[in-house]
């Protein structure tokens, strides 16, 4: 008679499927996961401390480095918080530019998610296709601000520069080409029995439980809860845009895939609408060179590609924040991993980390 016992193993921190430096302590019974405990902090750089010791303009640079897959969304939420503290608004044209860039960035971020998620589960070709399209978006972003990842593109009061000549045309070309590409991925995956088998009914979470865990973004909407900050508390010019918020019904890995795929289509529609509606005019409102907001505090949330990005700024009347807090959706979503993984096979943990769409830079800050 052979004795059985629980086995404790480590996944990561240096493991390609953990999307960075995530370590998960797994307790296994055979191949079944009994317990899992994510260990984070390997990428902790103290962005909040830096935000309390650098002035408001300098701190924007650190927001790029948090969620480096979707830097523009991080820039945007931080600058919105600064603007709200200052009591200024962005120039009308700049608001459309922000929406265009943020939605392009959302598509790029979802493409990275789809690419790596599919790669983790064994669909290698999708990875190569997705990175091709993402490259096109990064070229657009580079064409606007000169950087591919660490954009630092947005300023309090608007944008530093207008789009260069021919940029809007290139963006439109990308949008025209994109639906056919999306169909390619969908066909590649939906007719793939392995993909379907490894995503359907894996990591099911109910809407109520997801809310209690604080999960936001596509992961929450896949569980059927209709909460999208762009609709619930519209910022910039999202109230003028027509788009649907896709919702899932089961709340499994496959639903989260469907929701994100549809979000890419909707983001493309938003980009096209914003390009058509964008007025002429200056891109910058008058804002003091030295940003010294009056004392007070704001908590601003935006819809990032991974969920609700939050910035809590407390001003003490000087040019440095008294408290600078970054709420990361990845941090919150990852917390539900033990709940999702319980009872699944050890191979599924890779699919589950992928489906939560985490970026360790955003988690550890």
């Amino acid at each position: 008679m052979l004795g059985t016992r629980e086995l404790e193993i480590n996944l990561g921190p240096q493991h390609p499927s953990t999307h960075g430096v995530l370590r998960v302590k797994l307790k296994l019974d055979g191949e079944t996961i009994v317990e899992s405990d994510p260990v984070i902090g390997y990428l902790h750089r103290g962005c909040e401390k830096l935000g309390e010791n650098r002035n408001y303009i300098q701190t924007e640079v650190y927001t790029d480095r948090m969620d480096y897959i979707a830097a523009i969304n991080e820039n945007l939420v931080y600058i919105e918080a600064v603007e709200k503290l200052l009591g200024v608004e962005a120039a009308p044209r700049a608001q459309y530019m922000r929406v265009i860039l943020a939605e392009l960035q959302r598509i790029a971020s979802h493409l990275v998610w789809l690419a790596t998620h599919a790669l983790d589960i064994g669909a290698m070709s999708v990875f190569l296709y997705c990175f091709r399209e993402r490259e096109a978006i990064l070229d657009l972003i580079e064409g606007y601000c000169g950087a591919r990842l660490t954009t630092n593109a947005i300023r309090a009061g608007g944008m530093r520069l207008d789009f260069p000549d021919g940029w809007t045309g290139a963006a439109k070309d990308f949008c025209d080409e994109f639906p056919a590409r999306l169909k390619e991925y969908d066909t590649l995956l939906k007719t793939n029995r392995i993909w379907m088998g490894r995503t359907k009914d894996i990591g099911v979470i109910s809407g109520e439980k997801a809310l209690s865990y604080g999960i936001t973004g596509p992961c929450l909407r896949a569980s059927g809860v209709n909460y999208d900050v762009r609709k619930a508390m519209p910022y910039e010019v999202y109230s003028e845009m027509e788009f649907d918020v896709p919702l899932g019904s089961v709340g499994d890995t496959y639903d989260r895939y469907l929701v994100r795929l549809e979000e890419m289509r909707q983001s493309r529609l938003i980009v096209l609408q914003a390009l058509a509606k964008m007025p002429e005019g200056p891109v910058m409102n008058k804002v003091p060179k030295r940003i010294k907001p009056p004392a007070g505090e704001v908590y601003v949330v935006n819809e990032g590609p991974r969920g609700e990005l939050g910035v809590y700024l407390v001003s003490n009347g000087t040019d440095t924040a008294e408290r600078c807090r970054f709420k990361s959706p990845c941090f919150v979503n990852l917390q539900a991993l033990p709940e999702l993984a319980k009872g699944h096979m050890v191979a599924d943990i890779v699919a589950l980390i992928g489906t939560l769409d985490i970026v360790l830079g955003c988690i550890d800050r």
């Binding site: 439980k209 209690s212 604080g214 505090e297 908590y299 949330v301 407390v314 408290r323 919150v332």
Partner: protein
Amino acid sequence: MATTEPPEENGSVEQAPTSAALDRLLAAMPDAVVESEFQRGAPIARVAPARLLEVMTFLRDDPACRFELLSDLCGMDLGMVRPDGERFDVVYHLYSVEHSHVLTVKTAVADGTDAPSVTGIWLTANWHEREAFDMFGIGFAGHPDLRRILMPDEFDAFPLRKDFPLEGREKDHGYWRQPGDDDRYTYVAEPPEKK
């Protein structure tokens, strides 16, 4: 620091802001709310730690409030701002998906005392409270698993406290800081000799 001042008049506030959720809380539990105010149009209620769990349960379950989502929980070091009062604030940002409204709740905690843990009300509070403990050393009574989350387990200070030095400490992770040439530091295993 303006947590106790009325909202700034800077042109962005057109009319007096209102909040149905804050009104409801004030009507239902007038003695639990120490102080309430609006900051840039957003409602903020300050609650004594002893009544916090009661207030939070009410805010989540009351049909007129229904704050199902704890959007964020963070600590704040007010040691320099409020030298005579409690050193820390714990700040809770709540959101209601049903009513689409927000409320910020704050509670003051003195150094060395615990705030009540809200993990029983929102599961998401677990990691947020661990982070507040890790960064500020704020304890949470009733937390199921209060240990460090971002910093290494053996770390013995709280980095987001205002008195934590930016340039690093004399001794960190078991190593001593030794000033080298051109303003740089090296870290050595033996304590450097005092000159």
